[in-house]
Amino acid sequence: MNMPVACKILSKEQVGNDLYSMICSWGGIKPSPGQFVMVWIVGSDEIPMSVSLIEEGRIGFTFRVVGDATKALSQMGEGSCIGLRGPYGNGFDCSKYSKVLFVGGGTGIASIVAAVESFVGESVVVIGARCKDQLVGKNRLESSDAKVVMCTDDGSCGQKAFTSEVVERLLDDESFDLVVMCGPEAMMKKIYDLCRKKTICVQASLERFMKCAVGLCGQCCIGEGMRVCVDGPVFDESQLALFDDFGAFSRDASGKKVNL
């Protein structure tokens, strides 16, 4: 049932400037990589969060403090309870592909880590952020079987370059069956355009202001009524091709268009 259930915060760790990782108890359906849960911080708000850690009886997520809800969540201690409902959305599906390029930008990295860990074929992972301490999930990725390429805007870790630039060079040098990505939409739009030219399949995890998460309120719609909460958040190249708003605009809580 789509009703928040009280879940205990088992651990909370500050992993970077304004960045936190949290693990909670979870007795619901086991999420798959790319899916999200709605996190209710009583008295503040209820917001969607990608699941970055999937274990028996526990799930985890990594978030940046960007507003009141994430601030309130960052201040909650171990042992206190939040409301969780989900998992929601479709998640990534890499099972048909043999060689995959995973791309994560900023906190978007968190949502691809679980996908990388569960993928059995050959994979390269590009992760990028503003600076070293924003490269969430770096340690987990380095201990995975994937080849990891890192970049930062300031050069404090890995290459001093934008994620999309690193991806462009990689796509020129190597061939991939699929690019899986999550991060800022401008980054994803650039990479999507590169993939179109090279006819590489794409799975991009999109973000829109979300309310109900069950496909009713229409708040998170993109393109012709595609609901990020139910039809996404992961869309493939054939769907992205139909979205005039992909990389262009989203909508605020009132439904007003906001340029990205």
Binding site: E46, R85, C217, E224, G255, K256
Partner: protein, 303 residues
């Protein structure tokens, strides 16, 4: 071949299933997808004078038999929203019913005129939202205020005006009669039923607004009762809404007295092509029962 088309207040609908207000209607693209899923008409999100973010989350949760919501009338404001209507109308020709809410008769009139200029076929006055302070039910439970708002709107526009009623009143017929006295061309019933749910482990109401409105199958018997009462007492076309998920549910409303119906939360239960599925179920029932025309069934349960 059976005929399931309906003509209501001079507007022709190829079948009686409309998209209800507040569900998948924040932008043109969403409404177009609902039409592809089979909707025979769309009711817009309730639109006000200015942009409103609505309540913070949680705004929608599921309960036994339905959904509890307190969206808080989020909308981008009439001036921005008419562009969505225009964009919808560029791609599709199913009738659009413009839903509006205001704080007083003057705001309702301004909104009604702007909707009419936006070429909507009909208006639905939302005087029944149970969870937005200063709007909705606070106006819609007062028969004198309802009559005043409706008669002001009627004197400002020439398109048909329907009034959406709340079940959260002692006597829905009294409010319906006031709307008809004000000149309403028809009535829509029901809006959601005021309700609340509390998470006992977190010791808090689940909705951020505390209380909200219940929709879904649990309220269908209430909606059917309201339509039945209104049909008995008043002589205007009725639109039924509340918990419709199947062809059988539509027939219930039609036999109670509804000429058209609206589907909202049923989309979560049966998917975006619910409209086509429900249409098929109505046709199947009519063929089995040798009924040629759906309009012959309107009010059929009254004896």
């Amino acid at each position: 071949m059976v005929d399931i088309s309906m003509t209501v207040a001079g507007v022709h609908f190829k079948h009686p299933l409309l998209l209800a207000s507040g569900v998948m209607d924040e932008d043109a693209g969403s409404m177009l997808r609902m039409v592809k899923g089979g909707a025979g008409g769309v009711v817009t999100k309730s639109i006000g004078m200015n942009p409103r973010s609505g309540h913070t989350n949680p705004t929608v949760v599921e309960v036994e038999g339905g959904w509890l919501n307190a969206m808080g009338l989020p909308n981008p404001g009439i001036d921005e929203y008419v562009d969505e209507i225009a964009s919808f109308k560029n791609h599709c020709d199913v009738p659009v019913i413009g839903s509006i809410f205001g704080a007083d008769a003057e705001q309702f009139c301004t909104l009604a005129k702007k909707m009419q200029d936006g070429n909507v076929e009909m208006l639905e006055l939302n005087v029944s939202c149970p969870h937005a302070k200063g709007f909705g039910l606070q106006l819609g439970s007062d028969p004198e205020l309802v009559e005043e708002i409706v008669s002001s709107v009627k004197s400002s526009v020439s398109i048909p005006v329907f009034v959406k009623l709340s079940p959260n009143v002692t006597d829905i017929v009294k409010i319906g009669a006031a709307a008809v006295d004000g000149g309403a061309d028809g009535l829509v019933a029901i809006n959601t039923v005021k309700a609340m749910s509390i998470n006992v482990d977190l010791m808090a109401p689940v909705l951020s607004n505390g209380f909200g409105g219940l929709c879904g199958p649990a309220i269908r018997p209430i909606g059917v009762r309201c339509i039945y009462e209104l049909y008995d007492a008043l002589d205007v076309p009725l639109i039924g809404v509340g918990g419709i998920c199947s062809g059988n549910d539509v027939l219930e409303y039609v036999m109670a007295g509804a000429s058209l119906v609206q589907i909202g939360s049923g989309i979560a239960n049966r998917g975006v092509d619910i409209f086509s599925c429900v249409c098929d179920e109505i046709v199947e029932w009519m063929m089995k029962n040798k009924v040629d025309s759906l309009c012959d069934l309107v009010g059929g349960a009254h004896r």
